[in-house]
């Protein structure tokens, strides 16, 4: 008797994602469901494919096989014959807009001020008026503690400030899901705290988040689930508390011993 319980549609449903670069298979069939409000930390050694997986979800990389469904809308699927088919370009762009992304290297627009960085996409992509978006942008900048830097250019900011602007810029598009690709890895150690605090605040507001990170304390304290990836596959996926207290797989154990 199948369960009659109505399952909520996952925010992201990724099935059997495969991806290779120049003959090397970097993702060997990765599947993951992310529910609303979940904060998932993806950890693993460098070269394990975790960043590539994240970049596949919002179409920065093209997958070879598998399917990705975002809030019930199909970004890409693979038919029985093995042909991988993406939604048409404009459609794919619309689907991917449900996800905001924060990069390791910030990628702020250097020719625009902090405020202009935040309002650029709402203006050009959503076609909102300045009057409509500026108050909201200022609210977001206040939230990340950078309202005073409104008129500054990115080159005048510290790394931590840049990353907080990048978070505000992503939030300005009102995404349902936030993807973070090693958001603190390019920062001086003393600057990671301010970025992690902002992310923690987002998690407390029940933003759905997928975070590729080397910050074990963030994974342990903030995430609802931790995923350990190695050699292009998910080795172990467990609630954060369990994962750190009692890693089951020897590879997970070895990695955590090394990191903690």
């Amino acid at each position: 008797m199948p369960s009659m319980k109505t399952e909520a549609v996952p925010m992201i449903a990724a099935r059997d994602i495969r991806k290779h670069f120049h003959g090397t298979e970097v993702l060997k069939g990765v599947s993951l469901d992310i529910g609303k409000g979940e904060v998932i930390a993806v950890i693993g050694p460098s070269g394990s494919g975790k960043s590539t997986f994240l970049r596949c979800l919002n179409h920065l990389e093209t997958i070879d096989a598998g399917s990705i469904v975002i809030e019930g809308e199909t970004l890409v699927e693979t038919d029985a014959a093995g042909h991988c088919r993406y939604a048409p370009e404009a459609e794919a762009r619309r689907i991917c807009r449900k996800m905001g992304m924060v990069f390791q290297q910030f990628n702020l627009f250097p020719h625009l001020t902090v405020l202009q960085n935040v309002i650029e996409a709402p203006l050009t992509v959503k076609g909102l008026s300045r009057d409509a978006i500026v108050p909201r942008a200022e609210e977001l900048l206040r939230k990340v503690g950078l309202l005073a830097k409104c008129g500054a250019y990115p080159s005048q900011l510290s790394g931590g400030q840049k990353q907080r602007v990048a978070i505000a810029r992503a939030l300005a598009m009102e995404p349902d899901i936030m993807l973070f690709d090693e958001p603190t890895s390019a920062l001086d150690p003393e600057l990671t705290g301010e970025v992690l605090r902002t992310m923690r605040q987002l998690a407390e507001e029940h933003m759905t988040m997928l975070v590729v990170t080397h910050e074990m304390s963030f994974a342990r304290d903030v995430s609802t689930e931790v995923i350990f990836m190695d050699h292009g596959e998910i080795v172990e996926a467990r609630p954060a508390g369990e994962m750190f207290a009692d890693p089951r797989h020897p590879r997970t154990r070895a990695f955590l011993d090394h990191m903690l």
């Binding site: 919002n58 179409h59 920065l60 404009a90 762009r93 619309r94 991917c96 807009r97 996800m99 905001g100 992304m101 990069f103 290297q105 990628n107 702020l108 627009f109 250097p110 020719h111 650029e120 996409a121 050009t124 992509v125 959503k126 250019y153 990115p154 080159s155 810029r169 992503a170 598009m173």
Partner: protein, 217 residues
Amino acid sequence: MDYFFQILGPLLDGTAVTLQVFLLTLVLAVPLGLALALVRVSHFRTAAGLVGGYIWLMRGTPLMLQMLFIYFALPFVPVIGVRLPDFPAAIVAFTLNYAAYFAEIFRSGIQSVGRGQYEAARVLGMSYGQTMRRIILPQVVKRILPPMSNETITLVKDTSLIYVLAMNDLLRAARGIVQRDFTTMPFVVAAAFYLIMTLVLTWGFMRLEKRYAVYED
């Protein structure tokens, strides 16, 4: 001194011709160069290849030869054959030639903008066109100012090549007076005129660079 004012008239007339060729070429060749560069960096392989061939042709043959071809040989080419008066012929040749150089400057500028900028625009939902217009090209302007300054200064002096179509630009006007009066004074005055024009250009580009210095990449 009287002699100076006497030759000033013809030399200023020549300067007017020089400036016309310079300004018209600039106004036409910069947008054409940008369009060529955008095709060159696009994913349309065939079109990009054709533009590559065009740039090779235009940079690989002398501007003077191109000008002579358009003025003297083009009328006899089947189908596209058209007889142009001297001034339009010069403008067409200069525009086609300089667009090729400008295209390469734009291309290098576009390709110097990192992949991260495209990715950031993409994850914010921007299309390729929006990304180019709002994110990439505004950054390109700052990066290409020094080579553009170089190229436009070269253009001022290259305008003297139109003498082969018997047009009275600044240099040809000066040479005419030198041969008539057996004095080198017109050459000195012409040199001063060229220097003033390039000085204005240099100053203009310096102002632009200062304006774009408000941000760093």
